[in-house]
């Protein structure tokens, strides 16, 4: 919805030398954006307010495996030579906690309801990956569906300017090539960068991106630079080790509700909700009333929930999914099956976060293959 697939010509592309990356941030600020960008915090690459290019994770790579994430030294000329950390764009658009509305009782006992609208500054995000653009498009389908647009999500979504960087260093947990969502960004960005040793190819993906692009002093992209970018993408495809079974898995998943594998995975699964929290497409939430102690007012609060929680299936005095088997099954059958009927595609974009950030390292690709057959674990 934000852009069109750019053509790789020098007319809407240019080259930004590495030393001039600060001019991108300055141009964004001049257009009224604050920046969010990747930074090394507490042992992981996370998105945080970005003031200067020097704060980017230069020379930082990562090593990811099932249940494990570590940073490690990388090429000092690179600020984006890593695969995604735990966050996606999700926290920026679908807030982990927020107040939706307030109610107050006046002296006569009358109730007055008022919507709580978030004040969201215009935010430019640097370093967005293809998988997260695909995930954002899916979240848009859910939260911005015509006729039932979520005002809180919309407010945050419309404040975003997305500067993507093509992924050149997928982790061992990544499988975006098999879902068709990466590693190169196809659509959904405002600007797209390819990081090369000496700087960045900059491409335009939208009108907002064009406005920023026009503020930059760029050189023409050389044929060798286009080649280097294309070759990095090819290598990023070839480097991926994991694969999700292709196509609509609704049939094999819903046809295998009694598969013994559900019991096997439930013995390992902690039903802790880490997978759904780091998943860039999961949108489930709970609402709670938070009354003031004096009882005169109450905030209606929304927060991230998970199909792995007890409350998620709570209906009339009991939880329908009281054990881990049924909760894991709910997640996988919805994510890889039910989404096809609801949103026209699978809910998985191949980012691999649920594999890396699962404390016990459960692998969605392995489980899907085991349930749906056709894999080595089938």
């Amino acid at each position: 919805m934000m852009g069109t697939i750019p053509t790789a010509t020098n007319e809407d592309a240019g080259f930004l030398a590495r030393e001039r990356l600060a001019t991108l941030l300055e141009a964004g600020r001049a257009l009224g954006y604050r920046w969010q960008g990747p930074q090394l915090r507490d042992g992981a690459i996370v998105m945080a307010p970005l003031e200067e290019p020097s704060a980017l994770p230069w020379g930082t790579g990562d090593r990811q495996a099932a249940g494990e994430y570590r940073t490690r030294p990388g090429d000092p000329r690179r600020a984006f030579a890593w695969a995604n950390g735990p966050q996606a764009l999700k926290p920026l658009v679908f807030a982990p906690r927020e107040t939706l509305w307030r109610v107050k009782r006046d002296a006569q006992g009358r109730l007055a309801f008022a919507a709580e609208t978030p004040l969201v500054p215009r935010t430019a995000v640097l370093g967005v990956r293809a998988c997260d653009l695909a995930a954002l498009e899916l979240q848009d389908r859910h939260f911005l569906a015509p006729g039932r647009e979520d005002p809180h999500y919309a407010e945050r979504r419309h404040a975003l300017l997305l500067v993507a960087v093509n992924c050149t260093h997928p982790a061992a947990t990544c499988f975006c090539a098999s879902t068709g969502d990466g590693p190169a960004a196809q659509t959904g960005y405002d600007l797209l960068l390819d990081e090369l040793d000496e700087g960045y190819i900059v491409r335009v993906g939208s009108q907002a991106g064009q406005a920023l692009f026009e503020q930059l002093t760029l050189r023409p992209v050389s044929e060798a630079q286009w080649q280097a970018a294309a070759s990095a993408t090819e290598q990023a495809v070839a480097a991926q080790q994991r694969v999700l079974p292709p196509g609509d898995l609704s049939g094999p998943l819903f046809g295998n509700l009694d598969h013994p594998r559900w019991e096997v995975v439930a013995e390992r699964c902690l039903s802790c909700g880490n997978c759904t929290s780091v998943c860039p497409t999961c949108f489930c939430h709970r609402q709670d009333a938070a009354p003031s102690l004096d009882g005169a007012s109450s905030d209606q609060q929304r927060s991230w929930d998970s199909c792995f929680s007890e409350g998620h299936s709570y209906v009339h005095g009991r939880s329908l999914r009281h054990d881990t088997r049924t909760r894991y099954r709910q997640w996988l059958t919805h994510k890889l099956g039910g989404w096809h009927a609801q949103y026209g595609r699978s809910g998985c974009v191949g980012c691999g976060r649920c594999i890396a950030w699962c404390p016990v390292g459960i692998d969605i690709t392995e489980e899907a293959q085991a349930i749906c057959g056709g894999g080595e674990h089938g």
Partner: protein, 259 residues
Amino acid sequence: MSTRPKVAVHKFSSCDGCQLAFLNAGEALLALPELLDIVHFAEAGMLDPDEPVDIAFVEGSVYTPEDVDRIRRIRTSSRYLISIGACATSGGIQALRNLGDTRDWVGAIYARPEYIQTLDQSRAIAEEVKVDLELWGCPVTTAQVVAAIRALLYGVAPVKNRDKVCMDCKRNQTVCTLVARGEPCLGPVTGTGCGALCPAFGRDCYGCFGPAENPNTGALARRFQGLGLLPVDIARRFLFISNDAPAFAAEGRKWREEG
């Protein structure tokens, strides 16, 4: 004559820390006296332990024969009894003695052990009398206590939330100490309520809010083993603040026997 509900705050074997949930309540401390009559709260100065009350908050473990008599009297004179904190609900430090033989401990420490009157086991309040609501945590938070009071004033059951600490940790966008640093974090089996406080400061959760609902302690213990913990270390993770909660006690004792 006031129609405000009467409240008492009682202390048993404990460190007094949970009572600070009231004393450190900030603005709520100003609102509370408008809503409630606090008739007994020794740490705050009010002393009338036998006055019948609508809500009795009880901190601490039942530890001595005298404690047994006292908690029974409190139960009789209270409409709702709410136990607060790990000592009152799930163990606490002094319940670690349940792992050994109390007579041996007393004999090893005191010159005249015959003067020591103590029960064989440190017990949660609910093991002695009917408890209407348990607030877990070491210590419990002001938010927990205030939410329980507000719900009872509305005449509704307080909302129970025993989701895992991980849920709040991820809402906070804290980097996972287990996955990113290999720390033996108990967050995936521990109930939230603290707001994922320790991981926010870079420390792994040590389970002070007790087991979450549906805790898979066995799978997490095996993961700790994979991180290099010895059976005795795994046992210590579970047999700490919430050592007497059934899920943690069973897992901890299992690894303790292996060590």
